[in-house]
Amino acid sequence: MNSTAPLLQVEHLTLDYRLPRRRLFAPPPHHRALDDVSLTLARGESLAVVGESGSGKSTLARTVLALERPQAGRVVLLGRDVFALPADELRKLRRHAQMVFQDPYGSLDPRRKVGWIVAEPLDALEQGVESAERRARITETLQSVGLQSGDADKFPHEFSGGQRQRIAIARALITRPALIVADEAVSALDVSVQAQVLNLFMDLRERLGLGYLFISHDLAVVRQVADRVMVLRDGRVVEEGEVEGVFRAPQHPYTRALLAAVPRIGVPRRRITAAP
């Protein structure tokens, strides 16, 4: 692993989804989900990607983790081009980048115990971990997200939504990654629990030096967890910058429209003309 390389470099990523064929002999139409997207993320840095549904933010998350293959562009994780690696090398690289999904109800297998769920990435990505070490890693990881070692023997249904999201985070942490991609990771949670999980993200970052790619539609959340923010619209980057700068003085009209639409306590509602 190249230790001077940035955590993540995304260069000119373009990705088309094939749409259903309209005519038998004509080529099928495409939808451009990502259009020339570039970004750099340093170790320990937190970058938020915001945009509305269909803006390509989840596609970007999936492509960064090599779950989608782009038509053009590169994803360089820790100095290695993920789409140029042979399969076994890519698998070794995967333990350095893990994902937390939105729905803590849908992302955990209801028939598996928490210990198994949390250890699954370890079992899949790191060969030859001894069972004593495996157990120690499960305990250590559960404790790092505020759960107890005894929770390993329970099933997901015994936990509330916020605790399930902790399990999902533990599962992402067990391979000791340098990058966490969080796709709407707190959107399904209630406000008080959302604050607990956001605080956990901030703690983990300070403790473990994690870098985050934080995908969210919620601008208020983004402001609290990210150093920089990138605004996507129709697969294109329309604005990028330090969080405070973008929130205080958004440059692009679309960013301004997005920010103006966020309801705020103490600020009377202004009629806005929504982007069509």
């Binding site: 406000v191 629990v193 956001l198 539609h217 601008l219 208020a220 402001r223 429209a257």
Partner: protein, 328 residues
């Protein structure tokens, strides 16, 4: 004039483990043309309150108390009489427009359905009215022909169709249960604008259910905060926000990232409320919030605190409320 008056509403759900109290002694008034926000987290009873008013509680639920709407107690009405009110005088907008709409019927036919059913209009007239209603909610022809199907529309456009259906028979009360939670922030703003507009135009009362404090602040004149099936604080929206007196209200406010107008300094954290909402089968005898409350004392535990008035139109069910202003 009071349009809707809910008194001592309690709802109990039969479960295999015994009866679960879902709502306990919920009460509020809503004036004709007024707007009331219902806030709280999942499981606090917001949606159950809405379903009780609509007469759509699950069959295993038993409701006691009174829901007086236009002078009649809805809990005592037979189903036939309720059917005549629902969609006619009482209308509801749900969170998920895709499930609220029938995927195999055109949007024009769905908007016209209530007109034909409740008002007995003929097909032609109902469809002409449906076209006008769709136009009113921002779906004008020819782009949005009444022959379109729900899947041909975006989420925000579908929610507009649901609002057109709700408005069709000129109701007196519109209940909107998380109407914008499934939408993008720009669509959310447009839908809230639309709701405020049509409510003002038609003089209809709005019962807005949401978990988003900022949405309540911007869109309602009065509000109630619910926790674990009870009303813990009520009052004029701006009064309640100025002095979030119940520790739960204040906790919710402090935990909302949107309540902060700047970034937290490094090392600082959002104010999370520790613990969880108690489940209905195991609610404590005393104050339901005591287990999570930073101000709880011994006197909170024996009995549920009665509601006390702090100011005209501002009441709180707490023995140790915050009396100082909400920190900015």
């Amino acid at each position: 004039m009071t349009l809707l008056s809910v008194r001592d509403l309690s709802v109990t759900l039969e479960t295999p483990e015994g009866p679960a109290p879902i709502l306990e002694d919920v009460g509020f008034d809503l004036a004709a043309g007024g707007s009331l926000g219902l806030v709280g987290e999942s499981g606090c009873g917001k949606s159950m309150t809405a379903l009780a008013v609509m007469g759509l509680l699950p069959e295993r639920a038993v409701a006691t108390g009174e829901i007086v709407f236009e002078g009649r107690n809805l809990l005592a009405l037979p189903e036939g009489a309720l059917c005549k009110l629902r969609g006619r005088r009482l209308a509801m907008v749900f969170q998920e427009p895709m499930t609220a709409l029938n995927p195999v019927k055109t949007i024009g036919a769905q908007v016209a359905e209530g007109l034909r059913w409740h008002l007995g209009l003929g097909r032609g007239e109902a469809e002409a009215r449906a076209v006008r209603l769709l136009d009113r909610v921002g779906l004008p022809r020819p782009r949005f022909a009444p022959g379109l199907y729900p899947h041909q529309l975006s989420g925000g456009q579908r929610q507009r169709v649901v609002i057109a259906m709700a408005l069709a028979c000129d109701p007196a009360l519109l209940i909107a249960d998380e109407p914008t939670t499934a939408l993008d922030v720009t669509s959310q703003a447009a839908i809230l604008d639309l709701l405020a507009e049509v409510a003002a135009e038609a003089g209809l009362a709005l019962l807005l259910i949401t978990h988003d404090l900022a949405v309540v602040w911007q869109n309602t004149r009065s509000m109630i905060v619910m926790y674990a099936g009870r009303v813990v604080e009520r009052g004029g929206t701006h009064e309640v926000f100025a002095r979030m007196a119940h520790p739960y209200s204040r906790g919710l406010f402090a935990a909302s990232p949107g309540a902060l107008d700047a970034v937290l300094p490094p090392g600082r954290r959002l104010a999370a409320i520790p613990g969880l909402v108690p489940d209905p089968l195991h609610r404590p005898a005393g104050c339901v919030f005591a287990g999570r409350c930073p101000r709880a004392a011994a006197d909170c535990l024996p009995a549920q605190p009665a509601e006390r008035r702090l100011a005209p139109g501002h009441a709180v069910a707490c023995l140790h409320p915050h009396l100082e202003a909400t920190p900015a």
